[in-house]
Amino acid sequence: MSARIAVPVFPGTNSEDETLRLLRDCGGDAELVHWSQASQMAQFDAFVLSGGFAYEDRIRAGAIAAHDRMMDYVIEATGSGKLVFGICNGAQILLEAGLVPGTGPIRRPTAAFTRNGPAPHFICRHVYMKLAIEPARCAITAALPQDALVPAWAAHAEGRLAATPEHLSEIAAGGHLAFIYANANGIVDPAAIPNGSALGCAGLVNREGNVLAIMPHPERDAWNFNHLDRREGEDVLAPSGGSILFHSFIKALSS
């Protein structure tokens, strides 16, 4: 039996449909789980937390949702080695829940994805995330090539990684920096960072490698028709671009 994936929906989540669609297009057995049916979460083998503004980003993006009952199940699953993948608001929730970088206690975040800099505004911009760890370091990225470049859209107001200098060193040295922003040629360039994120961080992984949290949305540049430069000869409806990360996730579940 194939692994079952839950896409939890909190009040304020807004990217659940396309996340679900891409998981399915990549061969995943995925379903939405609504906050009023939180107890269903126990039946799933993996979790993908999608984008949005759960609980209106009150206090700080992800802060309230991290304490939602739905997250009890995700936290428990993390401890038993199940795969947990958070995108944008999902990433913020995982960070607020203390699951990434995972160096502190649960629900006591050690860092934050917080207000963008230098301008503290929502930004919608096409970006590239470069894999900054050995692919096998994280189960979800294991099927990506070395230095993989994943196209995606940054679309957030709070995506700047912030932490104390000591903790940032710990994140870097501990191999938690899963993805960094790069330009279209894969070159790390400050101009490629859309939000002033420390370390150029686009994504974090926990020590065990089963929780991945990324700020940009690969699922919004994931079908051939999403690309401004469509390659000739490929079907416009075929998954491509950012879907490589989803393929890798599905592959990790079936192996």
Binding site: V9, P11, G12, T13, N14, S15, D17, E18, R21, L22, H34, W35, S36, G51, G52, F53, Y55, E56, P118, A119, H121, F122, I123, C124, R125, W153, A155, A184, H217, E219, R220, D221, A222, W223, F225, N226, L228, D229, R230, D235, V236, L237
Partner: protein, 741 residues
Amino acid sequence: MRRCSSRRRRRRKLRLVNLRDEELQRIAQRLGREPSVVELHAFDAAWSEHCSYKSSRRFLRNLPAGGARVLLGPGEDAGILHLGTHDGERYAIVVAHESHNHPSQVVPFEGAATGIGGIVRDVLCMGAEVVAVADPLRFGRCDDLASHQSSVARGVVDGIGAYGNAIGVPNVAGDVYFERGFDENCLVNVVALGILNEKNVIHSYAPKGAEGWQIVLVGKATDPSGFGGASFSSLTLDARDAELNKGAVQVPDPFLKNVLMRASYRVFALLRERKVPAAFKDLGAGGVVGCSAEITAHGGYGARIELDKVNVAVEGMPPEVIAVGETQERMLWVVPPDFVPELLRVYNEEFGLPDVACNARAAVIGEVTAQQRYVLEYRGRVVMDVESEFLTGSIHDDLPYTEKIYHGAAAQELPAVDLEGIFPRVLAHRDVCSREPLYRHYDAVVRGCTVLPRGAADAGVLAPVPGSRLGVALAVAGNPRYGRIDPAYAAEQAVLEAMRRVVAVGAHPIGLTDCLNFGNPRKAEQYGAFVAAVEALARAATELDLPFVSGNVSLYNETSAGNAIPSSPIVACIGSIDDIANVVTPGFKAPGSALLWVGNRELVAGGSVLAELLGVKGTLPNIEYDAERAALAIVRDAIARGVLRACRVVADGGMLTAVARLAFDALAAGRKIGAEIDFGNPLCEAGGFVCEIAAGSGMDVTGTLQIGATIDGPELIVNGTRFDIERLHEIWSQPLAQLYP
């Protein structure tokens, strides 16, 4: 019934109610008594220009609204156009277009956010999934970043972004102009699109056999915000009253809306599954009364509503505030009694509205009656009892207007132009420079179905049906430089430009919407401008065989000094795409392609950016529909043959600006391709398209259409003058970056 004493009536009339004496007399005469306080406010809202279109309806009737593509024309919450077929199912696009001008001028963030909130509800209430929004904006001069105009311009954009981003609807089209005519009266127009299977349209009126059906109010608890909103929107803004009017602006709650939308999608699915008929309507102007009166009256029914059953945010609100207050995030269902428990369960339990916002819920507030009277009860007493039709459909104004010839034939001719000096100034002009600093605050890609996001091309394109190759294109237009000169001309050009934009991305134009932003209809000249523009819209739409399926009128856009804004007929065009593989992608593709300027290439500069920079009047380009149709045929032929590599319309900043933008688009994709052009005055902006046609296309490009060719390298060579494209891009990118950091 609590009647108004004449003294109280006078006081209320002065402070809150904007009904005129003759209207008050007509009400009293028809009722055979003095109206109650609640009735007075109900008529004030229902008979406001905003709700009743009393001085515009007789002209709007002349807009063409039919055709093979039209499933639903104007009259309900939104219009509906056939998009195409996928897997044997017919899909349609729902479209609505509105203004939120006055609220945005007074409280920019909230005013603009509730504009998006309202338009999204209009589309949702037709049973559709909301897939896109667009925002045509007109602001005053923002050269001084500390000015009030700049804070309006920022607050509006923040409000639109905050709302649209949170509900998860991509912003894919829009435009913005900055000009002194909007210094005291900004324009915030909003467009929304929805997608639905044609079998699943839900109408805004109680269907046949609805007698005894329940009326269910859904959403936010009614509060005192937005009281008098409809009436306020139908007044001229006076700076002294701005403070007072703040209470008339509603408070947005996109978080609640996000949940309401998803809960409503769930209800749509249940209605389909169980084949239950229903009506669904947005609460906008006129609040509970406005909505419940229309949803029943338009089905030929009356209603009995118990105001005590309306969920309220604070106790002790007067009944007239509960009855006509315009609290946001509310909608009204009319459903058969046996579906009510299920409806309440979805909203109140499955989606837990009361947990999402204080006292938000779905609640039965009344029922549909056969007798065509609208009756409100409050605390066991009847506080309103009127003929439904008298309230919702009987008011119209035959105001006088002036007919005027706005522009004569020829004006001055253009002086010789120093291209090297002026072209960078054109690119940096506030009407031409990059809008990215503004629109990057909007989510253009949520839902994952964006084909061309905001700014990538002349129109936004979406693939709204998952798994299907169907696409929809959306573009807006309305040039205030033309609006200053001639309202009718501006209206025709708005139709033409919106349509061209949709064609330029490879779509087939299928319908239009309009928002007519004009001055005071009680001034014959300002009213005359409106009348002339509507006639012109009708002419253009008839010539191009396109229907207007929905629209909105915003009058009283004038300042305390009595000046009207530049005439602003703003038009949106919807295009259908059978296969998104054929969408024209942005930017030059290869050196050595032919460059064509197809369309009106008259070398006149009336209304252009160039004319403004040179301080000359110029002659307005002619509008010739035969030539326009021929140009469309050429572009569509090039697309059908697969030889159109890139395309942009010629608009603000002229043909050369269109060429430069095709080079900028290529640069953004990493292709350094320039162009060499030899053609008259390239800054004229009469219209048409700049097209990159593949080398060896077999198309006849040797004729008069060709203006040059693409070249290898980031250089633009125009009539012998050389420009560095990367440098031009820098000039074009910068100007709005300070206003929108």
